[in-house]
């Protein structure tokens, strides 16, 4: 008696397995399509921000792009810090580092803001590439449209580095219209539109940057600028007083002690960094030796 004995445990198991296989695959397709539909908006945005190398790098990260972005961000900060210590004047890698960082993680806001200051700022304090900084910021705005402060940074570059006051005012105005924007943005927009590069608008701007600073470098840079602005105002006032002295006494003052003796000043004036002002050889007021004020920031 021969009979063909089929292999496998009761055919029930094999039938079940094939059924599971087929039905699951069939169910997967609409599930994936629905997920794609929901995510498509986000994905399209991501596509816009990529240039080839960043895209490749992002692919290689296999889901860990956030971590790699953090690493690149750290490298950018360290690179910049080191260059500053070495008193270098060129920061060629800063732009690419920030670009890759933001390509890996388009939502790393601090990278955009860092770039806004240090990419744009003239040498030796920055890379001196305001156009590149603007490009960076524009991508940042596309990826983070609700973050109005990026508009502030755009306006800031036009204002401070490019001295393009009409465009600066425009940027501040657009930024002030974003949801959640602070009221002072409106004031700034109006002030810049009206007065161009007046010290009061500059002071407002740098104060805001100081308050919003994402890290120590940015905060210190803002402080230095504020000091310089304040010192500038004070020096203007002191120069006026020096002229008054010269007209009154008939000869230029040698130091501010003369003005104190003449009763024009109550005491020797100190600059915002706490160092007494001196009278330069040209007869103008200026920061004393050891002062931390750096007037060249205001160029």
């Amino acid at each position: 008696m021969t009979s063909e004995k089929r292999k496998g445990w009761p055919p029930g198991t094999r039938r079940t397995c094939w059924a599971v296989l087929a039905l699951s695959f069939l169910a997967l397709v609409p599930l994936q399509q629905e997920a794609d539909r929901q995510m498509s908006a986000q994905r399209r945005t991501e596509e816009l921000l990529y240039v080839p190398s960043g895209r490749l790098l992002r692919r290689l990260c296999l889901g860990h792009e956030g971590l790699v972005a953090d690493i690149y961000w750290t490298r950018a900060v360290q690179y910049f810090g080191r260059k500053r210590i070495d008193r270098a004047t060129k920061f060629d890698l800063l732009g690419p580092l920030l670009r890759i960082t933001t390509e890996l993680d388009p939502n790393l806001i601090v990278a955009y803001r860092f770039g806004a200051i240090f990419l744009a700022e003239k040498a030796p304090w920055g890379a001196g590439r305001p156009e590149e900084a603007l490009q960076l910021l524009r991508r940042g705005i596309v990826a983070n449209p609700s973050y109005w402060r990026l508009w502030q940074d755009v306006g800031f570059i036009y204002y401070w580095d490019l001295k393009d006051y009409p465009r600066a005012a425009d940027a501040f105005r657009v930024g002030s219209q974003q949801p959640g924007a602070h009221l002072w943005m409106k004031a700034l927009a109006a002030s810049v539109a009206a007065e161009g590069g007046a010290i009061s608008s500059s002071r407002l701007l740098w104060t805001e940057i100081y308050n919003q600073a994402g890290n120590e470098s940015m905060r210190r840079s803002a402080a230095e600028h504020l000091w310089a602005l304040e010192a500038r105002e004070e020096i203007d006032q002191l120069n006026a007083l020096l002229e008054t002295y010269q007209e009154g006494v008939g000869r230029p003052a040698q130091s501010f002690r003369d003005l104190v003796l003449a009763g024009i000043l109550k005491g020797v004036p100190k600059d915002p960094s706490g160092v007494p002002y001196v009278v330069t050889t040209e007869g103008h007021a200026g920061p004393g030796p050891g002062s931390k004020i750096d007037l060249s920031l205001l160029q």
């Binding site: 445990w9 094939w18 699951s24 599930l31 997920a35 296999l62 889901g63 750290t74 993680d105």
Partner: protein, 258 residues
């Protein structure tokens, strides 16, 4: 059912004795602790870095564990012939496969829990406290677990067919391709060739789409996840694991043991 849990428990006990597991977990915890150090030198993103490094570590080490133990799950039993005495007993072959899978999943669950605990400790140390909002990282951990569930099933399937080294290579290859599926399909669409487009679309739906589960950078930035994602990914993982286990069972049922 009783037999499946017996095999699962036995597999769990066997996996837990693997010394490599301990090494991997310790290494992961060290890395997570290092995140605190890392945070202090990468200014401005201390919290973000702990999230990124911590969650990425859990993901990577979980993956290594899943592959390392998964590839030997069935192969070891066949190679050492312990399978003979098991199958001589009143055990269905599909019970064996399912039990093995569940046993390893329990192992991975526990190890992931340990790593997650370490992660929250690091977070608490850095922030000086824990906020309710930090629980959102558990979503990322859950998605990591879903990914691991699929990887283990993959490794198990290959373990029924080939040697550990080949299984590891195949599993890793599928994992990598599975992360790039969106690009493969996009690439197919860009070429304009109907053949390539259909081919890439087929691959897109056929292979496991791990990209759906990559949310670590989103969580680290504090951006909320869309609510459908939780349900969608859970269903996806469940379906795909079923596919892989069904395939493994089919193969195992036909397998002869010389």
């Amino acid at each position: 059912m009783r037999r499946i849990s017996t095999i699962a428990w036995h597999t769990f006990k066997e996996s837990v004795r693997e010394r490599v597991l301990y090494n991997l977990v310790v290494f992961a915890l060290l890395l997570i602790g290092a995140a605190i150090l890392f945070g202090s030198i990468s200014v401005g993103i201390e919290d973000v870095i702990i999230m990124n490094l911590g969650l990425s570590s859990i993901s990577v080490f979980g993956l290594l564990m899943a592959i390392f133990i998964g590839i030997g799950l069935v192969w070891k039993e066949i190679d050492r012939r312990t399978i003979f005495s098991i199958l001589a007993k009143p055990v269905h072959r599909h019970e064996f496969i399912i039990g093995k899978y569940l046993g390893l999943m329990v192992t991975l669950l526990i190890n992931t829990a340990i790593m997650t605990a370490g992660f929250y400790l690091a977070l608490a140390y850095e922030q000086r406290t824990l906020h309710w909002a930090d629980l959102v990282a558990l979503q990322a951990v859950y998605f990591i677990l879903l990914q691991l569930a699929m990887v283990v099933a993959l490794a198990l399937l290959f373990s029924c067919i080939s040697t550990p080294i080949l299984s590891a290579v195949f599993t890793l290859a599928v994992y990598v391709i599975g992360n790039l599926l969106n690009d493969i399909r996009w690439f197919g669409q860009e070429t304009g060739s109907a053949l390539v487009m259909n081919l890439t679309a087929l691959i897109y739906y056929l292979l496991p789409n791990f990209g759906n589960f990559n949310v670590i950078s989103q969580i680290a930035q504090g951006r909320p996840l869309p609510s459908y994602l939780l349900v969608s990914n859970s269903c996806y993982a469940l379906l795909y694991v079923s596919i892989l286990l069904a395939a493994a069972i089919l193969i195992f049922e036909e397998r002869e043991f010389r």
